[in-house]
Symmetry: D2
Subunit: 297 residues, 4 copies
């Protein structure tokens, strides 16, 4: 029996890269949070403290900033692919790279009805995400969105559930349903109009959430995933993680008031947490990186 | 010499009140965070533990929810005024009440190009605020906005400043300027179209930030305040607190790249913090509550 | 009528200054978060963008770091006094300075029963605070602690309170009482053994919270303040702000279980918020900075 | 080709369960954050909205609170095992359960040199964690700690690393090393003195961090893992995730001051992030839940 190194990776997390395009008077902005991770023959660094194979995390940071100039940020998927390929192909010891990017959205300021050339306000809370892995087995791109806070004030039910001796919940056929959605989708290609695809997917998410008469948050998640996969053959799988942000009807009867779904208490904790994968029966098998991506641990 | 009670207040903080209007198929939503504070003859509660004058914070919470039904939430200023008046006029011992409200914005979901009747997504990060004080001296309404994150990629300078032996900063005539603005404005009236006023003020803030060739963040703040006061005679004073969210030009020269204002590192801490009051030379004197509202402590 | 500048200040916030003393093999650490604010004739900077009187916030940052070497960090009160005096006395235009410092506590690692010379673990969540103001009227030192999370599982009641038509709360004579205390105390001196004083005050806070049979959180706050003022003649006033971190007894009766104060739900929001000042009837009058320090706005 | 459900689970997250033991005058407190997740034949809930197999998350919450009374909280590992077994064995449709628990530490208040019977202050920031999975393949227990913030002011180097054209970092043979450690360890048993084991592991972590002359954070992580595995044959693997919380030496030379490792700027972002697994060459294979537990995605 011996004690040995297992899986490991290292990198620079949360590089806050802001790229301004100022070739014309109408500037553009891309606002990123970039994390890099490298994998390879790094056991000597761990066991003996021999760094000769280790590219410093400081160098990874420098590269992330330099690539925002050299390669630009046309889309975060392409930017992350360029970084990952560089580390794997150009840096001798590196065998695998995983690049994770968050992109913060800005909307152009409107002044006297006209969009301004070089001023924006932040738009959120939703954040676009990408995670790219490049290694000897291939190139993997996962797109995503997180913290998309969405609420419907009717069109949601929860009834007919399993009960036991600890069940006190009452059935409802009309409730507020709200979540802060995290979704990730696995592409089967590395060549795509990433911007159009992102816009399409987020529109489908919102449409399905709004229009499905929901019998449970689970059902809403599946139908979001199904609609996205139907519209996007280049997506093999979608993973969704959705806190059920409970809005409890306040009992106003002690004060002589009725409350037919008008006044709610928005609770913080605990919250339901629903996690689901929607896939195709002929999807190419996912690697471990993907399987763990939705946190189904 | 004796040890005595000084200023005090108590209440229920951060009641998360959500009000849905569902009188027609097109629902409306108001999403609030409500904090109440009461002042009065509460020394016996502190000194001897005699609660006979204390309206429980739990009761204040109940009232905040009940009033969302009884009085509705036409605007947060009116809702807060109604609550404050109730506590002062209807609850025997209470001499003063301060109600603070944050309102979270939602935008209607768009499905196939059409606004949806009962689904919204959260819009932020900016939050609308109101603080109302009612006591024997009168009624005071303070409107505000916080966490308005705004950035301009040019049109900002910083030069000609005072220097000493600890100064290493270089002058610049073209930089990114960004902040997360907190602004509060003191009304001289309690009767107003609060919704239209809020929309007007936020538009002016964005316009001035965008269009002023800024020699310092200080100058931008003053001219925002000036423009708001010029447009709104019902506002006596405006207080602004603005972190200078530094975006540092990254030195790419070691990598053979120039960087003419294209790639920036967005820093977290430390940050400049600029706080300013813009007022009128004939403004009615502010009470202490207002003076401390911008944190000029 | 003219629109004019009112109160204003500016500085560098949240400088994360860490000072290691390594004169002997047994090192010492002081871990600070330092914010500086300057006041003076800064209207031209705001109105016309004339920075000639403005010492850059970047310079203030440099000074905060340099002073950690030049003056050291024997105590945060002395360090803040040194910085404030420097800005007011050495920098021509500056008329007033306010320095706020948070200090994070570390405890020495223990290895095989022995304290280690140069390794520590962070201790919290409580944070020591100081706020120093120097201007033409004098020098003011405010000490404090924040985020002191403290809980007692018995010895707390709440009964005999005022009721109205919105009251549903039941009386209790045995409850969990918990808070996350923020306390500030105003010194009447600038020469003191700050370390011993801080240790004494925090011990008194914990003792009073623990030993008083509390009829309300208000009563606990007053008696903390009273005990501190009795023990420390150099303190004129104490301000306390205490969220009532509600621990609700869970109703286990539906499951055939009794629950005599054994299982609680720790709620997040809303929470009671109790704010109190304890002072002396012959205390020197506080300036505005102090009055607003406890947030009684 | 058909669109189908893949992996899924659902539950109630972040139940804030506080358990007081008050059988004698000297009370005890256990303060938990409990999250439950259930797995099973839940496709109908997703595809058709048929909840008949779904035990509500509200019921899971009730069970978490009831079990704090019925089974008690002797240790979080045993409490989580009891909950997981209940869901799998007692609730017909459930095939697998994962229970995650965080435990917040409290230390007894000391009054006049004596430990108090029923008052505590929170101790942190470190948090003890446990994750238990029960399913048809067996029972799995993962212990852990997170947010253990630890710093050494000397005894850390970084030199001899791989360089490329983006490398600007200089070598150092004496630096501050600090991290906020997250560690998880996989047990090969479900019967253990969990309290003693946790105390032993955390002591080893601190000892190794303090005493190893570290050539890289990677080396420190491996030697922590190695020492824990050597001391604990009942642990098969340890996963460590360690942000390198950079403390940069401040350049004070422009101000005529030297700075031999005395004044540091503690940076927020970006940070190095080192993730490592230490295992045995004859360790039983880990299931996916474990492999993803350290975030090596």
């Amino acid at each position: 029996m011996a004690i040995i190194m297992g899986d490991n990776q290292y990198g620079k997390a949360e590089n806050r890269v802001v790229r301004i395009y100022r070739d014309t008077a109408r500037h553009e902005i891309r606002d990123l949070n970039v994390s890099t991770s490298l994998r390879g023959p790094f056991s000597p660094a761990h066991v003996e403290g021999d760094q000769s194979m280790l590219l410093p995390t400081d160098t990874q940071k420098n590269t992330a900033f330099a690539y925002a100039k050299e390669k630009g940020v046309g889309s975060i998927e392409d930017y992350a692919l360029a970084l990952a390929r560089h580390f794997v192909h150009d840096i001798g010891p590196v065998e695998g790279a995983r690049i994770e990017v968050e992109e913060y959205a800005w909307q152009r300021a409107v002044v006297d009805g006209v969009e301004h050339d070089h001023t924006w306000t932040r738009r959120g809370p939703e954040v676009r995400t990408a995670a790219v892995t490049v290694d000897a087995t291939g190139e993997y791109v996962i797109g995503g969105i997180k913290d998309l806070v969405i609420l419907k004030s009717t069109g949601s039910e929860f009834a007919g559930f399993f009960t036991d001796g600890y069940t006190t919940l009452e059935e409802t056929h009309d409730r507020v349903m709200a979540t802060s959605l995290v979704a990730k989708w696995r592409f089967t290609t590395t060549e795509l109009d990433w911007e159009a695809t992102y816009a399409s997917i987020t529109a489908i998410i919102v449409r399905e959430f709004a229009t499905l008469q929901s019998l449970a948050l689970q059902q809403t998640l599946f139908h979001i995933g199904k609609a996205v996969l139907e519209a996007h053959p280049e997506i093999a799988e979608m993973r969704l993680s959705a806190p059920n942000k409970h809005h409890f009807v306040v009992d106003l009867e002690p004060f002589g008031l009725d409350n037919p779904g008008e006044v709610f208490f928005a609770a913080d904790r605990p919250y339901g947490l629903i996690q689901a994968t929607v896939t195709r029966d002929d999807a190419p098998p996912a690697n471990e990186a993907w399987r763990s991506a939705a946190g189904l641990a």
